[in-house]
């Protein structure tokens, strides 16, 4: 194995060891589990009550709403903030960053190693959570839901949701890794990004495109109808085709990562003493 590959592997494994099962991350596990709890409760409640008006199609829309409004805007957003912004920030707070900086490893490799470690954790938690939530949301329909999954569009939708969740982790991960390196308090830039991402439906179409959520929404398999009075305020922009949205988001993430890596080279150990 090449030297750089050995070094990245070492950082990745060390970070995974620190990031997975860390006590500090308990709220991220709760966040990831929350939508699954909601869908499981939905399954249990709907199994016990007979509702003639409730159809399988309604549940796919419910899940689309849950995914776009809760997963993308809250669970994955805040989860990635918790994971990625802490990769460097916590090292600064705990005065351990010099442990890494005293190794003959290119700082760019350190950034990549830490990012991959954060990404692995985020993918397992959030993509796993999305898959579980999707599989349970309409479980009470029994064989109809099984048919929908295996003979209908179910698996394709699940694949799309998992892809979007993974891309969200990639995109928000890059954003928050950068925030963690540049800002003493990453909450402030995170709040700015949060407001920007949530204002997205109400922004002019040109500004809409300067956000992660816009590309992610374009990739979602089921559209969520916007209820009045918000529907009046929402501005429609042409959805980005998948062949542009996926590489576009990956490219944006790579640019952010490259900038973070170059900045890490200039980073000094200053624990604020």
């Amino acid at each position: 194995m090449q030297l750089w590959a050995r070094q990245i592997t070492a950082v990745l494994r060390l970070e995974m060891k620190k990031t997975f099962f860390s006590k500090r991350g308990w709220w991220i596990y709760c966040l990831a589990a929350m939508p699954v709890v909601i869908t499981v409760l939905h399954w249990i409640v709907m199994s016990r009550i007979q509702s003639n008006g409730h159809r399988l199609g309604d549940d796919t829309i419910i899940f689309a709403g849950l995914f776009q409004l809760f997963y993308l805007r809250a669970v994955i957003f805040f989860g990635c903030m918790g994971i990625f912004s802490n990769l460097f920030r916590v090292e600064m707070l705990e005065k351990t960053l010099h442990y890494y900086f005293l190794t003959p490893m290119r700082r760019e490799l350190l950034v990549i190693g830490k990012y991959l470690a954060g990404l692995s954790v985020a993918l397992v938690l959030f993509v796993g959570s999305v898959a579980l939530a999707f599989l349970t949301v309409a479980r009470h329909f029994g064989s109809a839901w099984t048919d929908y999954l295996y003979h209908g569009p179910g698996m394709s939708q699940l694949g799309s949701y998992m892809l979007v969740a993974a891309l969200a982790c990639v995109g928000y991960g890059a954003v928050f890794l950068m925030c963690g390196l540049f800002f003493r308090n990453p909450m402030i830039p995170a709040a700015v990004v949060f407001v920007w991402e949530n204002l997205n439906p109400f922004l002019p179409s040109v500004l809409k495109k300067i956000s992660v959520i816009f590309y992610l929404r374009s990739l979602c398999p089921v559209e969520v109808p916007v209820p009045p009075p918000f529907s009046v305020m929402v501005i429609d922009a042409d959805p980005t085709p998948i062949w542009l949205a996926v590489p576009g988001l990956l490219l944006l993430s790579m640019i952010l990562l490259a900038y973070t890596a170059m900045s890490a080279r200039q980073t000094e150990i200053n624990y604020g003493e």
Binding site: L3, R6, K95, L102
Partner: protein, 323 residues
């Protein structure tokens, strides 16, 4: 220091600072430092805030100079990929990445160096053995005492067998036995032709450890070189010499016929004479002459103030013991 080096050393075997300054905003870290540090044990001495840690952080690439150029064995600290192969740093920061045992702390550090897992295991075991931490290696670093943390940090800094070892207050928190072992380790490394750079508050230990000293005050290098050489250069302070003989009163009377004698004190046991002279070379010539002529029985003649503590007091002021 370079002027006093007995053998001309190539640039690749020295640590050099050329007009290096470092400011933290408007606060001075170090200012216009010019240094050349040869192999051996070098101690950085100075009060808190004098710039010792800044100097160490600069030579290990953890911070960059505001101006000037630093080379460590010919390598710029701007190039950490090369620098960290030859430099080991036991920093003042006590923390270790959370959840790691002593063994893992060193093992993963070596893995990030790029060694294979087998090499890492071997080097980790050797480093742990050197600091007598093998028995405690499987315990989390967070549960270590201050002295154990100090030793595990030392093990980490020597694990990759660096040519330059930089140690910030390495003896802090160590018990007397561990201190003695650690000092022996420094001396061994220094004698093997490596650079060992130590900062310490405890000046009598600096005397034991060091081949040369760098005295710092308020960000400036006040003096550098072998301790005796530094003392010799402090011309304005008369040299103190302790002579133990059978008749110190008679010796004092004979010596005081010369102009360069400043002061003489007879010790309580009436066998010691502490002399202060402004010209040590003339004094020693005179002393030889007086002994031969008078037939005095002399037990010992030794400088009384060429230790770091005295030099420190002369140059920086205050009590060196409480730096």
């Amino acid at each position: 220091m370079s002027a006093q080096a007995p053998v001309q050393q190539s640039h690749e075997s020295l640590i050099s600072f050329a007009n290096v300054s470092r400011f933290y905003g408007e606060v001075l870290g170090i200012n216009k430092v010019n240094l050349t540090i040869p192999a051996g044990v070098t101690s950085l001495v100075g009060p808190n805030g004098s710039g010792k840690t800044t100097l160490m952080n600069l030579m290990t690439g953890l911070i960059r100079p505001t101006q000037g150029e630093i080379k460590v064995l010919g390598i710029s600290p701007e190039n950490p990929e090369q620098l960290c192969k030859v430099v080991g740093y036991c920093a003042q920061f006590d923390a270790c990445p959370k959840g790691l045992t002593g063994h893992q702390f060193i093992y993963w550090f070596l893995r990030m160096h790029g060694y294979t897992p087998e090499e890492c295991e071997r080097k980790t075991a050797t480093a742990l053995q050197r600091v007598s931490m093998t028995a405690a290696a499987q315990r989390p670093v967070g549960a270590y005492s201050k002295g154990m943390r100090q030793r595990i940090k030392l093990a980490q800094s020597i694990a990759h067998e660096p040519q330059v070892l930089v140690l910030d207050e390495p003896l802090n928190g160590l018990d007397p036995m561990a201190r003695a072992e650690t000092i022996a380790l420094f001396r061994e490394w220094g004698q093997n032709g490596r650079h060992v750079i130590v900062s310490s508050h405890i000046l009598h230990e600096v005397d034991q450890i060091s081949d040369q000293v760098i005295l710092l005050s308020q960000g400036y290098v006040v003096a550098e070189g072998e301790i005796k050489g530094v003392r010799d250069e402090v011309k304005e302070q008369p040299m103190q010499i302790l002579v133990r003989c059978n008749d110190p009163r008679s010796l004092a009377a004979r010596l005081f016929q010369q102009d360069h004698m400043v002061e003489a004190k007879i010790s309580r046991d009436r066998r010691g004479l502490l002399l202060r002279t402004s010209d040590a070379d003339s004094f020693y010539l005179l002393l030889n002459k007086v002994i031969l002529e008078s037939g005095l029985e002399v037990e010992s003649v030794a400088p009384a103030d060429d230790d770091v503590n005295s030099v420190y007091q002369y140059l920086i002021g205050g009590d060196g013991g409480a730096v």
